[in-house]
Symmetry: C2
Subunit: 190 residues, 2 copies
DNA sequence: CTCGTTATGGACTGATTGGTCCATAACCTG
DNA sequence: CAGGTTATGGACCAATCAGTCCATAACGAG
């Protein structure tokens, strides 16, 4: 009934995620986005509303994808191995500086000033904590972790640790350092 | 011999630190800085060069002050108490959103793209890791920590953990949650 | 093939950006 | 009090910002 889009919406958002992850929200100009997404200016505004809407959609999709990766990592192996893998999955390394975390990035950039960003990040944090906590519970049941542990609190610690690992990765830390730090902190669950 | 400055340089930089910590580098406009620092536009450029120079000076001073606070916290109590205190000192809480960490903020915003920012953050990280590591060594000597521990690696883990705590604090976490997370991860040193 | 509808790209907007210019003010030394 | 020097503030600059307008292009339905 009308002219179809020349670009794939999912791919465009994936590209927007990369642009936002690299530059942050404010520093990513609409021209950066247009160039990075490979679409025209009017298409961007027509399909996504405005820069803010595009960012919120990118953040939501990034969080969904990140959670999926973590759940995948959490599904296999012993509780300890699974949690270690989930802590390290998708961090990016010092080589690929394109990789940055939209979640951590938006928290650092916006703090608590934007209600919609808050809602997305709070929801994502809840899911990640719950996923960690479930695996901690498994570990307790299997006798690998301290039975006195509060799984929810342990889940929050692991989310905090993962945030720190993301900052370290963005700051140039190598995979070995990150793994070593993760393992050291993980010992606290025993 | 000439007209003296009407403002105190140290106070002005302290104010600039607050502005940059709240908004980040890019999003802090020169007008924000002028207003926040309480000085005129020409005074800013005359005294600090430009926005970038001002930021670098603010970052250096912030890191110095932050390290001083941590060293103070590290000086007292048992190794475990001291390290816990150092992990939590100066994080700011959910109430005071003005508090943000210039170090973490600049790492997240710039990644490794700016050589001078890299140099400042690398130097600061080295000092923090060393300070933590020294206290870990004390703890090992005192029998409180695992003698098989690599103090340097433990120091890096603690810096990573502190980055995560800063992100969590900026995201709205309360003091209790932060302390609980710190304690849980600290158990990994035993 | 024609018409209604939507997508596209380029020109354009007012606002804001970081930074400069310049006239004037305030100080210290002589 | 006079002269050299630096600080100050307001006007100003080109560049860039996010976002809009409009003429045109590309499609499916009739």
């Amino acid at each position: 009934m009308a002219r179809p889009s020349e670009f794939d919406r999912d791919e465009a958002i994936a590209s927007a995620i990369r642009v936002f992850a690299r530059h942050g929200y404010e520093a990513a100009s609409t021209s950066d986005l247009i160039e990075g997404m490979g679409i025209g200016r009017q298409s961007l505004y027509g399909a996504f509303g405005d820069k803010r809407r595009l960012f919120l959609e990118a953040l939501r999709r990034y969080s969904d994808g990140s959670l999926a990766l973590m759940n995948e990592a959490l599904a296999g192996g012993s509780p300890r191995e699974a949690i270690e893998a989930a802590l390290l999955v998708g961090l990016g390394d010092a080589e690929d500086l394109e990789t940055g975390c939209l979640g951590v990035g938006s928290i650092v950039e916006f703090s608590r000033t934007d209600a919609e960003v808050n809602a997305l990040n709070d929801a994502a944090a809840t899911l990640v904590v719950a996923a960690f906590a479930a695996r901690v519970k498994d570990g307790i049941a299997a006798g690998a972790f301290d039975p006195g542990l509060d799984p929810q609190a342990a889940g929050r610690m692991l989310l905090t640790l993962r945030s720190g690992l993301k900052v370290a990765a963005r700051g140039g830390a190598g995979e070995d350092e990150l793994r070593q730090a993760a393992r050291l902190a993980l010992r606290g669950l025993s």
